[in-house]
Amino acid sequence: MTSTSPTETHVAPQADHGDPARSWLGRIAEGRAWLFLAGLIICFEVWSRFSFGATFVLNPFNVQSIAIFAVAPLLLATGQTFVIISGGIDLSLGFIMGLAAVVAAHATNMAGAAIPLPLAMLAGILAAVLVAGVPGVINGLLISRLRIPPFIGTLGMFGVARGTAFLLAGGTTVPVQNSWFALLGNGRFYGVPYLVIIAAVFVVVMHYILSQTRFGQHNYAIGANVQAARRAGIDIRGHILRLYVLSAMCAGLGGALYAARFTAGAAQAGEPLLLDSVAAVVIGGASLFGGSGTIFGTVAGALVIAVIQYGLVFVNVEPFWQFIAVGLVIIISVLIDQAQRRFSGARQDE
């Protein structure tokens, strides 16, 4: 901003703050991912009934499959939500998840030789989450101390985690020999898969952290105006470090659950999920400029992607259309987001 003399005419900024249409629009935009999801499910329901005379969404098997399908991308996307709200991005999550899946398999097998199987399972999950934290710490230090842009720092860690995961796995998949671990990945509690229960609890905890704690509040502030956050006395470096450790550990849990579901660890486990995680966050209403986004928006975003992918298979469309459909949804989401911003006159730069 430059100084101006009072004789200059000004278009008073934000002069329309009494406009009720804006808050109405804002509310619609916040819920748009859920609306999108509902519309999508209705589309597939109609499509399915007309083509095959079968229900899509009222079939519990479909619901269960979509939910399980969404678990791993959702775990990555919750971590990614925190990072994107802060104005950063974490490109390394996919291969951190792969690394964690391999570590979970190895650690569960090794521990299984010494301690009871349920304890070995817990040791495997713990090892996966802790090892995942290591690239998270490196990401955090690179970005907060050495001031490497998040895009570049985590892109480097994408390669490092990828190579490490393949080396640890010996270039192949690592089978898990632990019946408890297999049960965790495939068992059900009153018809609800354990994986879905774990993901649901996890999402609630992450929502609490983002919306109800100082960490979450500071995350929003940093994403909106890092100078303001610094002047308010927030420890930016410490926050950024914790932030990337948190997102890496989300991917670590995702890797452990992958190993449980497939009873094997694979370095490429999360490879296709990285971009899905970013897409879920964006579809969920977050801005890549930082400062906005919610966990429940991201849940809707992850479900939108899962429904598209599963639904297109269900109605017998060639799988390659999934990529096109998800890609279009991302673009449409960002277009709606931009239109809404223009409407509400929100500042994007400051």
Binding site: M1, T2, S3, P6, Q212, T213, A221, A224, R231, E350
Partner: protein, 251 residues
């Protein structure tokens, strides 16, 4: 002699110097701010105003001289320390997080917490909103939508939020860097009246501006900086625009 000049100054700087390598940004500069006094700091770009306020607000250490708070010498290692001692700087870009509410901004970095179910700590948004309303009320500034993000507010309202934050944390000295820049005329008047409120509450204000009209509307004294040295100090009642401009440009 005005009686207010006999009271101990809230803030006094004595013989303050700051150099960056060979560049002498501030040289043997002295000034004082008394309770309820608005002191304008004027000077051309590069005259040393920003260096001065950064030294006072703890952004960096002066090379020489001392800073006294109510007569006691103080040093600030960080802006945080200066803030804890009651010196708040309100910057041109306002330093607000646009996506947070007024309360969220007032409490940024020191959010109040409450316990849910007896053990789970959560942000106490209600306490923040109540404090926001009371604080803004003290500035004669009434807002109805306490949960709206401050991006919805006008420039003058946002300026008031930044001042409100300082008032809430009981800042005794407010350093305001170009608070009326980039505002429309009605908004500038609003900020000027806010400064009058602060003055009436007995706080000290250092008011930095290029705008002589605003300086004359709100200040008690004016201190002019030129190339890092004090070029003059006048009571507003005893000077005029021409003299101040001459001091600024060295005519």
């Amino acid at each position: 002699m005005n009686s207010s000049e006999q009271t101990t100054p809230l803030l006094e700087v004595r013989h303050l110097s700051k150099h960056f390598g060979a560049v002498q940004a501030l040289n043997d500069f002295s000034m004082a701010v008394r309770p309820g006094e608005v002191v304008a700091l004027a000077g051309d770009n590069g005259a040393g105003k920003t260096t001065l306020i950064k030294a006072i607000s703890g952004v960096f250490q002066p090379t020489g001289g001392e800073i006294l708070l109510r007569g006691q010498p103080v040093t600030f290692a960080t802006p945080q320390e200066a803030r804890e001692k009651g010196i708040e700087t309100i910057y041109q870009d306002l330093a607000l997080a646009d996506n947070l509410s007024i309360g969220g901004n007032i409490f940024l970095g020191r959010e109040p917490m409450r316990k849910v179910l007896g053990f789970l700590p959560v942000l106490d948004r209600k306490a923040m909103a109540v404090a926001a309303q009371q604080t803004m009320g003290r500035l004669d500034f009434h807002v109805s939508r306490l949960d709206a993000p401050v991006s919805n507010f006008s420039g003058g309202q946002r300026q008031a939020v930044a001042i409100g934050r300082a008032v809430y944390w009981d800042a005794q000295i407010l350093i305001m860097d170009e608070p009326t820049a980039a505002l429309g005329v009605p908004e500038q008047r609003k900020v000027i009246s806010l400064i009058h409120q602060l003055k009436a509450q007995g706080r000290g204000v250092i008011f930095i501006s290029h705008n002589l009209q605003d300086i004359f509307a709100v200040s008690d004294r004016i201190v002019v900086l030129r190339r890092g040295v004090q070029a003059g100090e006048r009571k507003i009642s005893e000077t005029n625009h021409d003299e101040v401009v001459k001091l600024m440009v060295g005519g």
